[in-house]
């Protein structure tokens, strides 16, 4: 009895203790992300622009045009009114710029509607070319050309210049992957380029206008980005050289660097794109002198407008300003000009000024009126005086297009986007000659920006609502290269942001960063920012509320828009549609091969599995004559740890799966021919003794010393290979071989993506978002490429001249870069590691050891994966 009583008491005590244990151990609630004090990012809508779109027929060709006007309150599309001489219903002027808007949107979102609309508008532009590179501007409702009106006559004027801008952008956006969309446009473009060359060679501005010439130059530079040619570069340089001497006055003398159409002419805000064009030319043509020229107007005249707190509509040569009407077409060139100069100089001051200038559209104007309506995408036609009653609430094509052009640029720049909702304080100045010494702007979070005029230059000083300095903790990966990179970036940031310091602490030691971060989450010891978050961990982090959503924060949303396309983000969205980690760097897995060994064997890099098997046979050799192979075609790792499959099964699978990954939306996707053929090709290699069934010694690499001729690897390996390789080893990379039946156009590489996350434990989500935007800026990306031989997850990386020199730093890196947009990563699924382990088992049993038929092994793995999915 006593023993029984003791046992019962002991059990009760044990049970009580066990339950009590749970409380401190794991009874915590999930984290809740901190709230941002900033408003959400501005949303761009094209609804109104679409509403202005009309079908038309020009010379029998179906095209799309944009109606010129839309009067309040019903905003029906309409043509030119009597006061303008019934010019017509639509113009090249507007259609061309609308095409640029749609092309930019298409580039980012991949939305076919935008691509189709841009293509149809470009067709209209080309149809208005008259066979000699000159253009007519207007058509009427029946598609008849207006050849009489001065604003429409056949000429090489504004409309031709805008046509060149649009066609150049069309080639840049469509040229790489969808050149068929350019069918029928190339002829007009070629003639226009030739005609422009004659005009420029004669030393004449297009249409006698700095504006028209600048817009044509923008088109020429877009063409040069897409299809570089020495003759085109020379033409662009000569065009820019025509613009440089147009600047009049100086920083202290009116009209303060303004670029005028002719000596003695007044400067007009509308279309003042020469600074943007020159700054772009400086980058594309690598001519820093053009950047200096671009700053002449921006640093003097525009700086004075910023201090005045409003933009002059017109400035006479003696500096007298006419303030109204203020229109989007007068603001947009300044916004884009500042951004182009920011890109050229790398000075974030210009991005801040672009954001503050763009705030005109959100109410930072003399009328205090919101000029761009987020709900409808309308932009009002202008402000005729300093009160809300003097806002022209019509919403024509030009205002709508120009507002969208400005906002597209600002919302893609993290430094600029933060200031879009700032307002200027104090009364606007009424003279550009007599200026206040400072002008303050304030944001919705209470933050302030002060512009000060000091020694003939504008200073930008920012103060936060709370003046306490912030320190962020940043965990980069612990490897020496990435730690060094992080230290350099943080040091640069700390120098420029004394109010927001960053402390770098490499990820604490552990088997993998996933386990370290997980342990940190459990202990509530996560940093503010970490840059080594894998997709394998992300789904769990999000489920636990452990990370902050990034497309809701202005700086990171802007960086996402600037850096990626919708297609690149599609597979990185969580079920709620959110992006919770900034896709930072990628190492697309490709087939690295020894050029000399393949040449000696008389084979080219294998493109499909048949060729791969042939390579297995041709590249296996017995060099010491002992009857056993000691040189092989490929080394496929034998270990079954889940991430080993990144170097064999998974890249081979993605090359043939048509973009399908392993699991998506709870559906198991890999029970298919692509998975079977990926394992089968290796099984045949192992079964025939053509692949080494061996682990090579640690510290050596069989590819670097020529033991194997091929290896599936990402570009992170390049520095290591350069150190390890035997002298004289020549290597190159090729896409991963696909199955014989797979469509070559449907091949994807494994991304091996690493992302940057902001953890919910941070007290400063907005500050952290700014830092993350900085870590993924073009300058930081260049450093990533040069220091770590790894690639930013960036749109059109291989074709972007900003990265050409950096990519050339490492052999074959440019080839890797060409695959950045054709990648798939791990699924954002909480059980992806376990599913990879199942596949690893199938690969081992079916592929390496052949103890189970491959198809059966894949089917078993898929069945078990379904059980895992069903159990949750």
């Amino acid at each position: 009895m006593i023993a029984h009583a003791l046992r019962s008491r002991a059990l009760r005590a044990l049970a009580t203790l066990a339950l009590a244990c749970l409380a401190p151990g794991c009874g915590r609630r999930s984290l809740s992300p901190p709230r941002s004090s900033q408003p959400p990012p501005l949303e761009l809508r094209f609804d109104h622009l679409r509403q202005l779109g009309l079908d038309a027929s020009v010379s029998g060709k179906p095209v799309r045009v944009v109606a010129l006007y839309a009067a309040a309150p019903d905003y029906r599309p309409s043509g030119s009114p009597a006061r303008d001489g019934y010019e017509g219903l639509a113009s090249v002027d507007d259609a061309a710029r609308a095409a640029v808007v749609y092309l930019r949107a298409y580039e980012q979102t991949g939305d076919a509607r935008d691509g189709d609309e841009a293509q149809a508008l470009l067709r209209f532009v080309a149809a208005m070319e008259q066979g000699d590179g000159e253009f007519v501007n207007f058509i009427d409702a029946r598609g008849r050309l207006n050849r009489e009106a001065p604003s429409s006559r056949k000429s090489l004027s504004y409309w031709a210049a805008r046509g060149l801008w649009a066609l150049g952008e069309g080639v840049r956006v469509f040229g790489r992957h969808e050149s068929d969309r350019l069918t029928g446009l190339r002829g007009a473009l070629g003639r226009l380029e030739e005609r422009m060359a004659r005009e420029v060679d004669a030393g004449r501005l297009l249409g006698g206008s700095a504006t028209a010439t600048s817009e044509a130059l923008l088109g020429l530079l877009a063409l040069q980005r897409a299809e570089p040619k020495a003759t085109r570069a020379a033409l662009a340089a000569r065009t820019a050289e025509l613009l440089v001497p147009l600047s009049a006055g100086s920083a202290s003398q009116p009209p303060w660097g303004a670029r005028l159409d002719a000596p003695g002419a007044a400067w007009h805000a509308w279309g003042a794109r020469s600074s943007a064009a020159l700054a772009n030319a400086a980058v594309v043509l690598e001519r820093p002198d053009f950047l200096l020229a671009a700053r002449q107007e921006a640093d003097a005249l525009w700086a004075r407008s910023m201090l005045a707190g409003q933009f002059a509509s017109e400035v006479a040569p003696d500096g007298t300003a006419r303030w109204f009407p203020q229109i989007a077409y007068g603001v947009s060139p300044i916004v884009e000009g500042y951004l182009a100069i920011a890109e050229g100089t790398g000075d974030p001051k210009y991005a801040v000024l672009a954001g503050l200038a763009g705030a005109w559209l959100q109410g930072a104007n003399p009328a205090g009126a919101v000029m761009y309506d987020e709900g409808t995408g309308r932009s009002f036609d202008g402000i005729d005086g300093p009160s809300a009653a003097q806002v022209n609430r019509n919403s024509g094509a030009e205002s709508t297009i120009e507002a969208l052009l400005a906002l597209q640029s600002v919302t893609r720049n993290p430094e600029a986007a933060r200031y879009l909702r700032y307002r200027q304080l104090g009364t606007p100045g009424d003279s550009l000659a007599k200026l206040p010494e400072r002008r303050q702007f304030t944001g919705p979070d209470g933050g302030r920006v002060e512009l000060r005029w000091r020694e003939q230059a504008l200073e930008v000083i920012e103060t936060r609502a709370d003046s306490l300095p912030i320190t962020l903790t940043y965990w980069p990966a612990a490897n020496p290269t990435e730690t060094r990179l992080a230290m350099r970036l943080a040091a640069h940031w700390n120098l420029e942001h004394p109010e927001l310091q960053v402390r770098v602490q490499p990820l604490p030691a552990g088997r993998s960063s996933e386990e370290v971060l997980l342990a940190a989450i459990v202990a509530r010891a996560t940093p503010d920012v970490s840059s080594n978050v894998s997709s394998a961990l992300l789904a769990r982090l999000v489920r636990a509320g452990g990370v902050v959503r990034l497309d809701d924060l202005a700086p990171t949303a802007a960086r996402l828009a600037e850096r990626t396309s919708s297609a690149m983000l599609a597979s990185l969205r969580l079920p709620d549609g959110g992006i919770y980690a900034m896709p930072w760097k990628t190492n697309p897995e490709m087939l690295m091969y020894n050029v000399d060994l393949l040449a000696a064997a008389g084979i080219a890099p294998p493109r499909n599995h048949s060729q791969l098997l042939e390579a297995f046979r041709r590249l296996g050799r017995d060099t010491d004559g002992d009857g056993r192979l000691d040189r092989w075609a490929l080394w496929a790792p034998l270990k079954t740890t889940w991430h080993e499959r990144f170097h064999d099964f998974y890249p081979l699978y993605l090359a043939s799966s048509g973009g399908r990954t392993l699991i998506s939306d709870g559906q198991v996707l890999f029970d298919n021919e692509a998975a079977v053929s990926a394992i089968e090709v290796l099984r045949r290699g192992f079964a025939d003794g053509l692949l080494p069934r061996a682990n090579f010694a640690l510290g050596s690499d069989p590819f670097a010393d020529g033991t194997v001729a091929m290896k599936i690897i990402g570009c992170w390996f390049l520095p290591e290979l350069e150190q390890l390789k035997t002298p004289g080893l020549h290597y190159d990379v090729a896409p991963i071989p696909r199955s014989d039946t797979a469509n070559p156009g449907d091949s994807y590489a494994f991304a091996d993506l690493r992302s940057i996350a902001i953890f919910s434990t941070t007290q400063h989500p907005d500050a952290a978002a700014r830092f993350v935007a900085y870590l993924t800026s073009p300058a930081a990306d260049r450093l990533l490429i040069e220091e770590a031989s790894q690639l930013p997850y960036r749109r059109a990386l291989a074709f972007d001249p900003r990265y050409t020199a950096s990519l050339a730093r490492w052999p074959t890196l440019a080839s890797y870069a060409a695959h950045v947009e054709r990648t798939r990563d791990l699924d954002l699924d909480p059980d992806v590691v376990e599913i990879f382990d199942l596949i690893s088992e199938a690969y081992e049993a079916g592929g390496i050891y052949g103890v189970v038929p491959v198809r059966q092994a894949v089917a078993q793995a898929a069945a078990e994966a379904r059980k895992i999915v069903d159990a949750r």
Binding site: G25, C26, V522, R540, P692, A694, N695, P702
Partner: protein, 287 residues
């Protein structure tokens, strides 16, 4: 409470606190987790007997149990034989005896991960030292860690090498206690060296053997770092030990409840096996 009692409680309190925090709490925590689903990052949910049912039908778990017994089947006899042989050798007059004793003990104090990395290189098929030596003798390279039938024996040999120094010390201590008079008496009786070993030394070393068997068994069941570093559990899961499977569930799959269930099952298996061993060897001791 008497002053004597108070002093007693006071003196035992630090250790009791240590025991509660670092032994009782984890044990109770693990027991509670058996009935929970918990992925570390979210609050746990009640699982009833789900984890236990899963364990009973989980072929991977039972494969791990089998692997661990295979390991023990190779490791235990090898460990005892090697330790005893070395102890007998080191107990004799020997040049540099202290050096040899220290040398055999050295692997015990080296980190398991370091030893595993070292042996990984020794076992490497292409350029490993062992295959290099075999090649000189004209033997083809042996895939030590990539052949499903050789991987676990290879690991068992390595673990034996690492731990043998510790058990040598135990045997050496036992050998010191065998009375010289007994050894002399049996030698005078004309017993051969083998007979002296069989009928005197081994019976008198039985307590040490029991200790060696018990400790080796407990350590052997906890086989983890070697397969973790060297094989990742392969080939064909032949080196997936119980602890490696527990670790994988806990920290790769974040299935803490199931991992705790494996841990509790492991504790029960160890208890059962050690109890059987003690009963079997204990009988021999009585005889």
């Amino acid at each position: 409470m008497r002053a004597e009692d108070r002093s007693g409680w006071l003196l035992s309190a630090p250790y009791a606190a240590f025991l509660l925090v670092f032994a009782a709490y984890p044990v109770c925590f693990a027991l509670a987790l058996v009935f929970m689903h918990w992925d570390l990052v979210r609050a746990p949910s009640f699982a009833g007997f789900d984890n236990v049912r899963l364990l009973a039908t989980d072929t991977r778990f039972w494969r791990a149990v089998l692997n661990t017994f295979v390991f023990l089947g190779i490791h235990l006899p090898l460990q005892i034989a090697t330790a005893l042989t070395l102890a007998l050798a080191l107990n004799r007059p020997l040049v540099f005896r202290a050096f040899w004793r220290a040398a055999f003990f050295l692997p015990v104090v080296i980190s398991g991960a370091v030893v595993a990395i070292l042996w990984n290189a020794l076992y490497a098929t292409d350029v490993g030292l062992i295959n290099g030596l075999l090649a000189r003798a004209g033997v083809a390279p042996v895939p030590w860690l990539t052949d499903p039938s050789l991987a676990m024996p290879a690991i068992a040999v390595m673990v034996t090498w690492k731990n043998v120094g510790f058990y040598v010390v135990i045997y050496l201590a036992g050998l010191q206690y065998i009375p010289r008079s007994c050894q002399e008496a049996i030698a005078v009786e004309g017993a051969s060296a083998w007979q002296r070993l069989r009928h005197l030394t081994l019976p008198l070393l039985l307590p040490q053997t029991i200790l060696v068997v018990t400790l080796s068994t407990i350590n052997g069941f906890q086989l983890f770092i070697e397969p973790y570093v060297m094989t990742g559990g392969g080939p064909l899961r032949r080196t997936f030990s119980i602890v490696l499977y527990m670790y994988t569930n806990a920290f790769s799959y974040q299935k803490m409840g199931y991992a705790a269930t494996i841990g509790v099952a492991l504790a029960l298996i160890i208890g059962l096996v050690v109890a059987i061993q003690r009963r079997v060897i204990g009988k021999a001791e009585v005889q």
